[in-house]
Amino acid sequence: MSDTTPQPDQPRALRPDHVDPRQGDPEITAEVVADHGLSPDEYERIERIMGRTPTFTELGVFSAMWSEHCGYKNSKPLLRLLPTEAPWVIQGPGENAGVIDIGDGYALAFKIESHNHPSAVEPYQGAATGVGGILRDIFTMGARPIAVLDSLRFGDLDTGRVRYLFGGVVKGIGDYGNCVGIPNIGGEVHFDRGYEGNPIVNAMCLGLMRHDDLITGVAEGVGNPLMAVGARTGRDGIHGATFASEELSETDDVESRPMVQVGDPFTEKLLLEASLELIKSGHIVGIQDMGAAGLTSSATEMASRSGTGVEIDAALVPVREKGMTPYEILLSESQERMLVVAKVGHEAEVQKILEKWELEAEVIGRVTDDGMFRVTENGTTVCEIPGMPLVDGCPTYQREGVESPEIAALRDTELPEADEPARDLAEAWVDLFDSPNLGSRRWIYNQYDTTVRTGTVIPPGSDAGVVRIRGTRRAVAATTDCNGRYVYLSPKQGAVIAVAEAARNLVCTGALPTAITNNLNFGSPLKPHIYHQMKEAVTGMAEACSFFETPVTGGNVSLFNETDGVAIYPTPVVGMVGVVADIDHVTRMAFRDPGDVILQLGDNTNELGGSEYLYHFHDLVAGPPPSVDLFLERSLQQAVLAAIRTGTVKSAHDCAEGGLAIALAECAVGGETPVGVDVTLKDSISAVPLLFGEAQGRIILSCAPDDADDLVELIREYSVPVRRIGTVTDADAGLSIALRDREVRVATEDVLTSRANALPRRMDAPVAASADEAHE
């Protein structure tokens, strides 16, 4: 392990003054330091920066800012590998959210963020506040949120605990987003024992603005007032950032509950409207969410971006209860709060806007020129820290990564006889749809308002969600993707696939992939095999993003996703956005008319590793994940977009988990009116991998018979393999795939039923089942 941080320079005047310990605060001991999640080395560095022993308040501030959550101390060197620039990127990483140009004078702010730890402890509030936080990251940029997505992972749905977590998370996401009035347009959920102890809850938000409306989190203008805006500060969520940077243990769901924040979406809605009005009013220079590490991180980060200092009087911060110490006020993660830097002399105007929205705004401090983060309490200084080393001086670690031999062995495992002559393939086809991973997601998105704001062109349940931009011909598409099994078995390849699949999902809707936000969910980076996963995955993601010209404009890192030493699958979630240049090009996944020709782009392979088939039928996560060819993927994206722009493509669907048979069936039953398919596959590949293998780089299109020849010709110009594999039929004819040696046929109705019931039969019946468990 090596510490790669440049030692912070200590410019002359930036030694903090002596600060007396505050009466009643604990003394600083090695134990207190350890409780704050700081190593002895890190503490030593703090003393060097301070030139003295820090006060308890100062120690708390360092602890929060130097947590993984705020300081990225284990991930920063890796994050530097990611491409972040492109001509259309207006704001890259380092702000509340990334911003890209989407044409016609509009810009899109977007970001993804995790709330894994709180959701493991209190799923409803954990997930709800995750949505709240990501909405605030978007509207503090001056953008109006127009859509949310959620990327979720849970253990298998066969225990009451997992069903409780899943149900609570979905309800939390729904209740919060529904109340604020932001449509949910998609996302993904996977169930696998690899997430048994630690669910993943990543929420993504998209916001729309005119270019002129962009504002950032800066504390410019010495003498400008700092104002606390929105909800009052309470004792909830203190040290949430530090908590989110530690492993969970069995007792955590009880002991850690006070660290989980409680959300109020009604206040959020008011704060959203008030913030956008404030930003438009011209009375403020900067605004930032008081998110992780609350007032501390917002104030210090805003000052750091402008090279200024800030001075805050903790006694002026509006609080929910009496007797809160500066320590608590600085580290509270109470929700629905903003820190605003107003123009001096405009305080009353700011307050007037907040009052209209029935919220408070109070002056709590001012911008200074000495670079210090200074906090007073009724005139007495309780905290004085040089801002630069606090924000940027967090030690960063580059570790040695070593692949786990067990996982390497799993990848090299001999897989079960690929052909499985004994298995009834028709039965398997229907049964796979009963897997919670392939069943319909309706149970989830029926709890989300998907149509509010009247912009949703493609709601959840498709390859990607699409929202139109009113007053233009444009639309934006968004998706989240990551198959943790692939990344577990082969981190780099798995990450490449995550980016490639996201891009395929977007082009299937007619959108050009434009940029990504990422959420790196991993176990403890202190373990060499986890660090190996991180390093390889980020390397793979960087490679694919460079290749597809989809820069990373920001995101989130969530480490220490472990319970009792067991880590989650490495899950670097890709949240990708794309632009549909003309609304007429928006394409859906479902087949439409009997008689239409079905085209398959990309080749079938004899690969079965990491598949849902192996998990579902053999309880196996093994084998190498499918191979991926970036060059072919990019050609495929270009070919599909060119095809869609001819106006003759009637449907487009990515072939992903569950393989070709599942993708075809989804095309058949995924629309308003189910249809059948009559497909012939002549490949010399065993039936199981041919039907259910998850070969990459495949997309299913359909078109009218008269258009098929032209489309095939066009696609071939991109050197993409393409062939007619069959026709769309009436639903009554069922789904039929003829292989070389046999025909596999299922009734459309059977697929519909199996797929529709996969989640409800587990989640609705289990209400009773969990009650039983409670009685036992």
Partner: protein
């Protein structure tokens, strides 16, 4: 036609209603709930959302908002008032419509397209529909389960005040087509005078084929048509 679209703290479909009115040629105006006075307004719309966070009960606090002191007399003198989703809940709480909306039978927020049958076309809200027409409109609510006492229900049915009913594709009001457990599959009702209407589904979200349905357009066109060229608050009721 000037339509006041009321924004309570927590309303979130006001923008959508505004766009829908504009689309059919009306002149919508946002009204913040503290802004008093409805002079010159031809119709009032209370939008969906979560006024006051649905705290206490959906609509229970919004009915005390300052603007309701103007909306109630506006309605009582025959001015057309439409409440959609949370707006319907507010109208019930304010006593402008009978009955109440309780938690959905499934105890979950329910968001999906529903089918409704238009039960009457001689109203200012439905004159552009055909009698018995089945329309498809999105709904999204947690508290849309309509309840009233037997006497009120008998009166609603007897006086033909049920305006929309949840039905299946064949136009039958079956239990399976009822998304929230509403009594008699009631999706929307009228007051006795015929000038106040509340409904749970969102016609303002069914205005463009791009977004999946245009079945909400006739509702807004009906309102504009029934007010066409006439001003003032006392023209409606004429629909009956």
């Amino acid at each position: 036609m000037r339509v006041a679209v009321v924004t309570f703290p927590g309303s979130n479909c006001d923008y959508d209603l505004y766009q829908a009115v504009k689309q059919v040629g009306g002149n919508p105006e946002f009204r913040w709930h503290r802004d008093r006075g409805l002079d010159g307004i031809d119709a009032v719309m209370l939008s969906g959302g979560f006024s006051y966070g649905d705290y206490l009960r959906a609509g229970a606090i919004a009915r005390f908002s300052p603007i309701m002191e103007d909306v109630v007399p506006f309605a009582e003198t025959g001015g057309p008032v439409v409440g959609v989703c949370n707006g319907f809940q507010v109208l019930c709480e304010a006593g402008l419509l009978p009955g109440a909306l309780i938690r959905n039978e499934g105890l979950r927020f329910q968001s999906e397209d529903c089918r409704m049958r238009v039960e009457r076309t001689d109203t200012p809200f439905t004159n552009r529909y055909e009698q018995g027409q089945v329309i498809r409109v999105p709904l999204a609510h947690a508290e849309g389960n309509y309840r009233a006492d037997d006497e009120t229900l008998a009166r609603l049915e007897g006086e033909n005040l049920v305006l929309f009913r949840y039905v299946d594709a064949d136009g039958e009001a079956t239990p399976a087509s009822n998304p929230n457990g509403s009594t008699a599959n009631i999706a929307g009702i009228l007051n006795e005078r015929g000038n106040v209407m509340g409904m749970m589904p969102h016609p303002e979200r069914a205005m463009e084929s791009l977004l999946g349905s245009t079945d909400g357009v006739p509702l807004f066109e009906s309102l504009v048509a029934s007010l066409g060229g006439r001003a003032g608050a006392d023209v409606v009721g004429a629909g009956r």
